[in-house]
């Protein structure tokens, strides 16, 4: 079992495996995105209060979910790299950061665009919005830290510590709307209750969430592959790979 894991975690094996997996996730994300957008923008009815403006939910909510999910992936990969010195884990953590930052930015920007007509303001300093902004700063801090070190292993270790410390922000973001009175509304979809969104609006939302997730995996794999090549540029298998290529 452990040898299998080692084999999976070897950069060369991961490089080959990710090359095979990438097209599947790319196509899945394209198809899910098309289905989700058609369902959300054409098939779903307008909301009883917000009219068509509610449709921004199909970008806002998946990117907000992803901003949390990617952070957990990044922190866990960082932790695995810190404890077991797995090179692939460091690479995954490093490749996730800018994707997570983009999702966080997208969630904040779409929320702001929706907030102006609906709430009457672009921005308020309530617990949900503020903690999500801190998440963006955590991502940006991680990215800055990665490029501050020349030695990749030192950078990965420092980044992992930052990511693990920042992990405490994730439950705060998630529960902020329940713990404090915020301007941001409570969760529409929870694990234990029936969702308070109509089925015809919910299905496209879930499709969009899956599309975002596949997109993340496919771009993560592509980024990880190029990171591996840079990381391993002195190893024999990369040299062979390059010399076998006809340019």
């Amino acid at each position: 079992m452990f040898t299998r894991f080692n084999q999976f975690a070897s950069p060369k094996h991961f490089y080959d495996l990710s090359a095979r997996l990438t097209p599947w996730f790319t196509w899945a994300s394209i198809l899910l995105l098309l289905a989700g957008l058609y369902g959300g923008l054409v098939l779903a009815p307008a909301d009883y209060q917000q009219g068509d403006s509610f449709r921004i939910i199909y970008i806002h909510v998946p990117s907000a979910w992803m901003s949390l999910f990617v952070y957990v992936v990044m922190a866990m990969a960082g932790g695995i790299g810190l404890i077991w010195h797995v090179k692939i884990a460091d690479i995954i953590a490093r490749s996730s950061a800018s994707l997570g930052a983009s999702f966080t930015f997208l969630a904040l920007a779409t929320g702001s665009l929706w907030g102006k007509p609906m709430w009457g303001t672009w921005w308020v300093w309530d617990a949900r919005l503020t903690s999500e902004l801190i998440l963006l700063f955590l991502y940006l801090g991680y990215i800055a830290l990665q490029s501050a070190f020349d030695d990749r292993r030192v950078a990965a270790r420092a980044g992992a510590v930052l990511a693990l410390v920042g992990l405490v922000n994730i439950p705060i973001i998630h529960y902020s709307v329940e713990w404090w009175s915020t301007l941001h509304q409570g969760p529409t979809i929870t694990k234990f209750d029936a969702p308070s969104i109509h089925m015809s609006m919910l299905i496209p939302l879930l499709l969009m969430a899956l599309a975002f997730k596949s997109y993340f995996i496919s771009v993560l794999l592509i980024r990880a592959r190029s990171e591996i090549l840079e990381y391993e540029c002195n190893s024999t298998w990369v040299e062979e790979l390059i010399s076998n290529r006809s340019f």
Binding site: I57, M118, V124, A127, V168, I172, S181, Q185
Partner: protein, 152 residues
């Protein structure tokens, strides 16, 4: 102890420490994290009387009065126990309507009336097509329907 075990324990300690530290911090700042006060808290004198603060509640039915010559508007908000009268001079957000939750930023003036500088609509977590909202309103009327909402 192997170095790997040491690292695991160290990381767990750091995570636990961060968790405890942030729980303490958030408990200490509980009051500041509260985005708005409710009319009951205002009635109990918990809200600041000299400086600006935010108040939140549901707009009471038939309480909105508009001045036909200006943007001035007054209404009453409630948390179902106590009420506060709010006066405001400005543009109200799209979602403002009777029965809707709002958050107003401003000050209490001498007469016990809240003079708002800004009124924000608080949206709830329910999303549904108008037909469903109609059916729900007919059945029990738990969801407030917009003023200008037309039944199909």
């Amino acid at each position: 102890m192997s170095p790997r075990r040491k690292r695991i324990i160290l990381i767990l300690f750091v995570l636990a420490g961060m968790g405890i530290a942030s729980v303490l911090l958030l408990t200490a700042f509980e009051k500041n994290l509260l985005y708005f006060y409710s009319p009951s808290q205002v009635a109990a004198g918990e809200a600041p009387s000299t400086r600006a603060f935010r108040i939140g509640g549901l707009v009471m039915k038939n309480s909105v009065q508009r001045n036909p010559d200006s943007l001035e508007v007054s209404f009453v908000i409630t948390d179902t126990v106590n009420t506060t009268k709010i006066v405001y001079d400005g543009i109200l957000p799209d979602l403002f309507r009777e029965g809707q939750g709002i958050v107003a930023n401003g000050k209490l003036v001498n007469t016990g009336v809240f003079q708002a500088q800004e009124v924000l609509a608080k949206h709830d977590e329910n999303y549904m097509p108008p037909e469903v909202a109609d059916a729900l309103a007919k059945a029990g009327g738990t969801y407030p329907l917009p003023e200008n909402h037309k039944s199909k």
